[in-house]
């Protein structure tokens, strides 16, 4: 399911003295099966863009096409339910939206709202718990007795239980410890590879962009100012700094090494790539 933005403008509180630009003339396609990262500093319009992906916000002008759905300013909220099922949203600190007495009931809540029977929804819950890497034993536990990282997995299982085609992730690893972060990112990668889920990731972590995304959208003041592969985006450190964006750690290190006299082609994005390119330049390393 492709998602296409065609000259999308969005104004917050349009027609009031508080009107403010959210999105300005955004045109972009997020291809079916892709892994897209959206970057930009706080307030650049990332979240506004995100909320257009399942019509939580509708463009003030322009069109958003999501599979068979065409969303314009005139689109009524009626009949949007199938769309919301196809595009699953995992908000920041998703664990805050848990509310049920047991993990199983919490995960089953979404599918039940989309007309799945109680029995079927509970069956789905059991499958999803496995998919997010939690043991069966949590199903009958209260979600509030779990650790923060486990709670977040339950919330994600609740979104996956609706069997979406697109998974939208708004800083899904914020507040997790390094091990939790790595596990969570590996889990999304697996869902992307094995279930063919299209992933849209909003993040401040440039290392994750370099490691996982195949397309990067850079937002600034409501505008989409650059689109490209991570390699193209991170090839211009000066431009990124000018837009208050960082570099992946590998690119930072490569930059420091280049300043010293080392040469890299292409610019390495992962630690392994950097090590491979360095090796011949250091004579295979010293022996101490």
């Amino acid at each position: 399911m492709d998602i296409t933005f065609d000259h999308v403008n969005f104004t917050y509180q349009a027609g009031t003295p508080f009107a403010g630009d959210g999105l300005k003339d955004v045109s972009v396609t997020i291809k079916d099966g892709s892994y897209t990262a959206i970057i930009g500093h706080t307030g650049s319009g990332k979240s506004t863009l995100l909320q257009h992906l399942n019509a939580l916000l509708k463009p003030t002008s322009g069109t958003v096409t999501i599979g068979d759905f065409k969303i314009t300013n005139e689109t009524s909220n009626k009949n949007l339910k199938p769309l919301r099922q196809k595009v699953g949203m995992v908000f920041q600190f998703a664990e805050n939206q848990l509310f049920e007495q047991t993990v199983a009931k919490d995960i089953a809540f979404g599918p039940k709202n989309f007309g799945v029977s109680d029995e079927e929804a509970l069956k789905l819950a059991a499958q999803m718990v496995k998919l997010v890497g939690l043991p069966d034993s949590v199903l009958e536990q209260s979600p509030f007795d779990l650790s923060g990282g486990q709670m977040r997995r339950v919330a994600i299982a609740g979104v996956l239980a609706m069997q979406p085609e697109v998974l939208v992730l708004d800083e899904p690893t914020a507040g997790l410890d390094p091990a939790g972060r790595n596990e969570m990112m590996a889990m999304f990668q697996k869902l992307h590879e094995t279930q063919g889920l299209t992933i849209v990731l909003v993040t401040h972590l440039m290392d994750d962009v370099a490691d996982f995304a195949d397309q990067v959208l850079v937002m600034d003041q409501g505008q989409l100012i650059k689109t490209g592969s991570p390699r193209t985006i991170f090839a211009d450190p000066a431009w990124l700094t000018a837009h208050q964006l960082g570099l992946p750690k590998t690119a930072q290190m490569a930059q420091a090494l280049t300043a010293k006299g080392f040469q890299f082609d292409p610019q390495p994005l992962t630690t392994e790539e950097l090590a491979q390119q360095l090796l011949p330049q250091i004579g295979g390393g010293a022996h101490d």
Partner: protein, 277 residues
């Protein structure tokens, strides 16, 4: 005597069979910055809460500034220890930034004239004076934590505990808060205990204490701790990037020095190898 002296501390949460802290002994000197690292659930926050009496130990002794932590002393100790928590949104009570900073002082019945000066000074120190009459909810994450820190320093504690105070912030906000802590330490010689899994934060400290399953497994300078790169990764912790690159180079077949090198150090080291090829 150390400013914070923890001797053989044991602690277990009710209904938990496994203790959260086991025989923890730790001394923090006045003016020192100690980072406590460990994965989620390793006992870091439990340790912090035992220092100012939010939790009471099962056995062992905590002494802060010469005062043993007892029911009689707990309020005197809390005046000396300020904690900044993880989620900036959970700790605001005031309608404006200045009201919020004044809240702790009001509770301690500080006279108004002095309160005005202290709030002003604290906000100036964290560089948030321009925001004094703003609503806390409308600030960025980094700004919120700076206000939370102002609320603490207005009370002039001897010790400030940062309990994962930067973990919910974006990289810019994190850098902002770290720079502030460094600046405050330079100005006031404040003792800082930071509980964190951010390696950059730990690398800025004078000493790093590694906690695993409620026990102290290692304690030393950041350079000493970060030489245990592989073990840290095995414990679910991060290591500074140069250590990761060294590990990758070793996997690719190169021999790398054992000692911890920061980014500049590693760049220079690699350049020496390049030049002697």
């Amino acid at each position: 005597m150390a400013l914070i002296d923890i001797e053989h501390l044991n602690f277990a949460y009710p209904d938990q069979t496994k203790p959260a802290l086991r025989d923890v002994s730790l001394q923090v000197n006045a003016g020192e910055w100690v980072a406590i690292i460990g994965h989620n659930g390793s006992g870091k926050s439990t340790l912090a809460k035992n220092i100012n009496g939010l939790l009471a130990p099962a056995s062992g002794q905590v002494t802060v500034a010469g005062l043993p932590l007892t029911e009689a002393n707990v309020w005197a100790i809390r005046e000396k220890v300020g904690i900044v928590f993880q989620n900036p949104d959970n700790q605001f009570v005031g309608a404006t930034v200045q009201d919020d900073v004044a809240f702790g002082l009001e509770n301690r019945a500080v006279p108004r004239s002095e309160m005005v000066t202290r709030v002003h000074d604290a906000l100036a120190q964290v560089n948030m004076l321009d925001f004094a009459t703003r609503e806390p909810a409308r600030l960025s994450g980094g700004q919120k934590q700076r206000v939370a820190i102002a609320g603490i320093i207005a009370q002039r504690p001897e010790i400030i505990i940062l309990d994962e105070a930067t973990s919910m912030l974006d990289p810019a906000g994190r850098a902002e808060v770290l720079a502030l802590i460094q600046q405050l330490r330079a100005q006031t010689n404040m003792t800082v205990l930071s509980i964190t899994h951010d390696v950059d934060e730990a690398a800025s400290a004078d000493r790093v204490v590694l906690l695993n399953d409620g026990e102290i497994v290692e304690s030393g300078t950041p350079a000493e701790i970060f030489t245990h790169g592989e073990e840290l990764l095995a414990l679910g912790l991060d290591v500074p990037y140069p250590e990761r690159l060294k590990a990758a180079l070793r996997r690719a077949g190169a021999t790398m020095p054992k000692d911890y090198l920061d980014e500049e150090g590693l760049v220079n080291y690699l350049w020496t190898l390049h030049s002697t090829m």
